[in-house]
């Protein structure tokens, strides 16, 4: 069977972690559980994607004017979007971990 055409994120998992020590979902879940937010790896992934959705939504609206939920979901899952977010979010968060207004 031939490989499906298109980007991998459209057909399966294609994940991006930061170069400076980003974690996998299982480790994130373990760390979050230790910190009092009990969860498993799937929940960690769902929360991460929900957060990505929140970031993708205004970006899609800015570029596509009328962005539907499907398009936002697609953008949020796209590893290229996630890579660009790593750079941007790292820049936005200042050294104290607060949002740099």
């Amino acid at each position: 069977m031939s490989m499906p055409k298109g980007h991998k994120s459209e057909f399966g998992y294609a994940t991006v972690t930061g170069d400076s020590g980003g974690m996998d979902y299982r480790t994130i879940a373990e760390k979050m559980t230790e910190d009092g937010h009990k969860m498993n790896h799937a929940t960690a992934r769902n929360i991460f994607l929900r957060a990505m959705n929140k970031l993708a939504s205004p970006v899609c609206t800015m570029y596509l004017n009328e962005a539907d939920g499907k398009k936002i979901d697609q953008t949020a899952r796209d590893p290229r979007f996630q890579s660009s977010m790593i750079e941007l979010v790292s820049e936005i968060y200042n050294i104290d971990g607060k949002i740099d207004d």
Partner: protein, 262 residues
């Protein structure tokens, strides 16, 4: 080829080459101050001067100038030739001719004038590089060349960079349209600007402001997970808060202890 040069070549063909005995006889007369003998000696060997000059064509000097310089070299050789040594005149003259032509090419082919010894060094360097490549199949490194030429690497690098042909930033390149050489881009237009594109910068600023707004809407859990996923630590200097799990921390501690014991 210009008309003058054509006429000159035609005229050169009229003079016959000299035999060894004629060369000796003419040299003896030249020694006694015979100007006609000198002229004949020069005219008979001018073909040698032309053939050497032709080898230095396409190096930034016109053929007329090269022939003129090689003729000056030939005259010098005629004046200094010593027939008693028993060599043919051409054997002696070709070095004087080559020297005159090389000196001219060295001082006129580029906008930056290099001293004759530097040009000579470059000449040698290219020769060595070609020989080295033929023998070993790879180009020699600058260090190897410096060692072969018995010069300082810094000096060699300075000479190589000075010998580079300078070009005008306003020179036009590429396709020449029907309207002539004024079409096409200048070299200056093709040099990339290292500064970011103002349009891209503006886009980036817009996205950053939108994302900054969106980050305010994240819950504590979401923000924390994004940080862990992207590897954005809250305080990189705080090692107690490193984004690793306690089990991983225990494993690292065990490993450290084990290494310490060994």
């Amino acid at each position: 080829m210009s008309d003058t040069l054509k006429l000159f070549f035609k005229d050169v063909g009229r003079h016959n080459l000299l035999t060894r005995d004629e060369e000796v006889m003419l040299s003896q007369r030249i020694e006694k101050g015979d100007k006609l003998a000198r002229e004949r000696m020069i005219n008979s060997n001018i073909r040698l001067a032309i053939s050497i000059a032709k080898k230095y064509q396409h190096r930034g000097c016109s053929l007329e100038d090269l022939i003129q310089e090689s003729s000056i070299g030939l005259m010098k050789a005629v004046d200094r030739f010593d027939w008693r040594r028993g060599f043919k005149f051409s054997t002696y003259a070709c070095w004087w001719i080559k020297q005159a032509v090389r000196r001219h090419v060295a001082s006129h082919s580029t906008s930056i004038r290099l001293p004759a010894h530097a040009k000579g060094l470059l000449w040698k360097m290219r020769q060595y590089a070609t020989d080295y490549e033929e023998e070993f199949g790879i180009a020699p490194t600058p260090e190897e060349l410096a060692e072969l030429l018995c010069v300082n690497l810094k000096t060699l690098n300075a000479i190589i960079s000075s010998a580079a042909t300078p070009i005008s930033i306003d020179a036009r390149v590429g396709y020449r349209g029907s309207s002539g050489p004024s079409e096409g881009r200048t070299i200056g237009e093709m040099i990339p600007d290292p500064r970011p594109d103002p349009g891209d910068e503006l886009d980036r600023e817009k996205i950053a402001s939108v994302v900054r707004g969106a980050l305010h809407t994240l819950t504590e859990r979401e923000e924390k997970i994004i940080r862990l996923r992207f590897g954005i630590s809250e305080d990189p200097s705080d090692h107690a808060q490193l984004p690793i799990t306690s089990s991983e921390l225990k494993r690292l501690q065990r490993l450290t202890v084990a290494r310490g014991v060994k």
